[in-house]
Amino acid sequence: MKEISCKLLVIGAGPGGYVCAIRAGQLGIDTVIVEFGKPGGTCLNVGCIPSKALIHAAEEFEKASHMAGGKSLLGISIATLSIDLETTVAWKDGIVSRLNSGVAGLLKKAGVKTVHGWAKFRDGKTVEVETETGMQVVRAETVVIATGSASVELPSLPFGGRVISSTEALALSEVPERLAVVGGGYIGLELGIAFAKMGASVTVVEALPRVLAQYDAELTRPVVKRLTDLGIEVLVGAKAKGLSTKGDALLVETKDGKNTKIAADRILVTVGRKPVTEGWGLEQIDLDMAGKFIRIDDQCRTSMRGVFAIGDVTGEPMLAHRAMAQGEMVAEIVAGHKRSWDKRSIPAICFTDPELVTAGLSPEKAKALGGEIKVGQFPFAANGRAMTKLGEEGFVRVVARADNHLVLGIQAVGQGVSELSAAFGLALEMGARLEDIAGTIHAHPTQGEGFQEAALKALGHALHI
């Protein structure tokens, strides 16, 4: 049995873990990172990045299908149209592997030692790693748990065969003819829309009264409308009960209590993600939990001295950029800097069609704080750039305090609005007031002008509506 020791050990090389390790390396900390799979975690391998590649391909295909169908407003027509999903997936895999080696390179450059294998705690300072070449013991002064999350499995629909998780959905070799999506959250809708655009006949089964239930109805309305336009059938208030006896259909109990069958070639289950808290020896160190997540304080410290936890394993929102920010912070804390979590907003994006962005507080949550608020909303129908992109659906909405105009939250729905998240996040972190946004020149013609106009609207003097 080989033994190494280090100052900092990071378990898991997802976005939280690898950022933590790179930053620690930059700060001259003797760091080891352990990863069973390829570096980059869910995000890079089976999440954010590959899904965006697939979504992009689907978008392009859908655009082209209008051209092929002779319905193109742009006057472009093409003769024949087809998609070879195997090529698409290979292209996506190419991106993923480039990024894999990119992360590995960055870790190496920062002087971080990577150990491939499955880590298991022996005690709070010692971890055993099962590697290809045998057991490796790592002793560390400080350990960071960054084990991430995994898709939730439904007991009635165990993964396997036709029942797939998002991971398998991103690696299909052909577009399924009939796809049933169980769970109308952001993952289910992102993938459901992509497959619908590529020609699948998609049915979404959602147990709650509406899809994307964590967002307000006004914000999701353009998405719901688009689902209908794409021919996606949405069953809300419906429960997935399991597979039919033949295994070729999904059994569903509808809103009014009737049992029905949805014929499907693939059944994609996207009912949420759960923290990975098993298989790595949590029981050996007995950390305090917060529900199913590891409990952390504002410095990502767990209940055990010298053990930190970051990312999805620590709770909602389970987003890569939250994990990255936590990872960076923890590395700096380990290096002796004074840091604590003081972020004002964790923007969240839903890469549906149209896209959704939220940063800060929704109007309801802002109202719930008790103070008077102002809300300004600007529709993309009044935005020149949106028109030229055939993207007039949606709007930008700004929520601010009525007394001092401090911006509390910004939401947008529309084509390509994900890129506006940078501006939204910056405005909130900098403590912008409506006047700051209204007083910033926003280049013309861009969809970003909608942000400025929404602020002007809240101030009562929008120019273009």
Partner: protein, 441 residues
């Protein structure tokens, strides 16, 4: 449509100016004839200014606390018909306003007609934050301070990082930026103030500064006190009085059945003191006087007009019991009660609040052991009543409990010698300790 200018009317008694203490209207209000527009305060009386016409308020010429000259325009109304301003008379009117520049307030920017642009500009210049660190430290936060409990301090990520590294709790810093945003300068200023009080105490620093305009009665009091203390060299004399006998008498009188029909108020100690002072003044009339120090004349009054310093919700006032020499103990008490009530409810007239020739000040149960009363200028003496309490007194063989009370009295040493002051108080002491003497001529 015309414009009607209302000028501050002559409020009487040869007053040249008055202080604006209250606006009853604001720009944009519609007013009816005889509706009260404002209240101004002269020496001690408050006078309400009614509107002579119906109209809409266009402009207010002074801010609360400003001293306005009689005849200065204070309100402009938009009225139906001609009004009292002729078209084209604007420059003349401007001239009127410019005449007593020091007496007039800067017009409110929003109410200023377009011709008077410079005023708002000056305001802007004033509002511009000074670049100097010291100033920004002294300046209270522009908005949002004090920050409501639980609200996160508003600062950019760079500021938050800097504060964290410097070990500064941003909640202790009042931001000077928009919406109370904390800037690097705010942190500089915070650090420049040096080591802070021990944070371990868990007590938060309160950095707020509230600006309170000294107006109305408070300003009158301030002026009066400053005048008295700067002009008059005070000599204060404290003596203790055994009021056991007086208290017995007072209790007996209060217990006595009121004769039918006669209004007999409950007696406090003050009427006895007033009567004792009347008797002492008969021997020493120089103490019941007004000293006109500019003219170098002492006006020695025959009538004893005793001012009684009284605390009211808006501050200190001195209602006056006139001709105490001509009132018996019951009359003194009744008049005292009536005046105290009027002063508390704010209905006391100007006459009732002025014209005293000597003053009593009493804080009742709050009276303390001794005080240093400030003479009610231009009077020459003030008698202060301290708290009565049972104290042990040595009677030659043993300690006996007696009801004791101190009198702390101040005199204008320019015209009253210490000896005379002592004689005066000793005379009052004798009268109060043997109260029957008060009633014997």
């Amino acid at each position: 449509m015309g414009e009607h200018i209302i000028k501050l009317p002559d409020v009487g008694e040869g007053v040249a100016e008055a202080e604006l203490v209250e606006w009853h209207v604001k720009v944009g209000d519609l007013v009816r004839e005889d509706a009260v527009l404002a209240a101004v305060m002269t020496d001690k009386a408050t006078v309400e200014i009614p509107s002579p016409v119906d109209g809409e308020v266009l402009w207010l010429g002074a801010e609360i606390g400003d001293t306005v000259a009689i005849g200065s325009p204070i309100v402009r109304l938009k009225v139906a018909g001609e009004g009292n301003v002729k078209a084209g008379s604007e420059p003349a009117e401007e001239g009127v306003r410019a005449e007593p520049p020091a007496k007039l307030a800067t017009p409110k920017p929003e109410a200023v007609p377009a011709t008077a642009k410079p005023a708002p500009k000056a305001e802007e210049a004033k509002a511009k934050p000074s670049p100097s660190i010291a100033n920004s430290a002294a300046r209270p936060s522009v908005s949002g301070a004090p920050r409501p409990e639980g609200e996160k301090p508003l600062a950019s990520p760079a500021i938050r990082l800097r504060a964290k590294e410097a070990g500064i709790d941003l909640r202790q810093i009042a931001g000077s930026g928009p919406a109370g945003r904390i800037s690097h300068e705010d942190i500089d200023a915070f650090l420049a103030r040096g080591p802070q009080v021990a944070r371990t105490s868990g007590l938060a620093r309160n950095e707020t500064i509230e600006d309170i305009k000294v107006i109305g009665l408070r300003r009158k009091i301030a002026e009066k006190m400053a005048l008295a203390k700067s002009r008059i060299p005070h000599i204060t004399y404290v003596e203790e009085i055994d009021v056991t006998a007086l208290e017995e008498l007072r209790a007996a009188l209060n217990k006595e059945k009121r004769p039918a029909g006669a209004e007999r108020p409950k007696l406090t100690l003050l009427p006895f003191l007033m009567r004792a002072m009347v008797k002492a003044i008969a021997d020493q009339p120089q103490l019941n006087a007004l000293f006109d120090d500019e003219a170098g004349i002492i006006h020695q009054h025959g009538g004893v007009h005793i001012g009684i310093a009284a605390q009211t919700p808006s501050g200190l006032v001195v209602p006056v019991v006139r001709h105490a020499e001509a009132r018996d103990i019951w009359d003194c008490a009744a008049e005292l009660n009536r005046l105290a009530e009027a002063a508390k409810s704010g209905t006391a007239t100007r006459d009732e609040l002025s014209g005293s020739t000597i003053t009593i000040t009493s804080l009742g149960a709050m009276g303390g052991v001794a005080t240093t009363p400030v003479i009610n200028h231009p009077e020459v003496a003030i008698v202060g009543v301290n708290k009565m309490m049972v104290r042990p007194l040595w009677d030659g063989t043993q300690f006996i409990p007696r009801k004791m009370m101190n009198l702390s009295s101040s005199f204008d040493h320019r015209v009253i010698d210490g000896w005379d002051a002592a004689v005066f108080i000793q005379r009052i002491k004798t009268l109060l300790e043997t109260p029957a003497m008060i009633f014997v001529d």
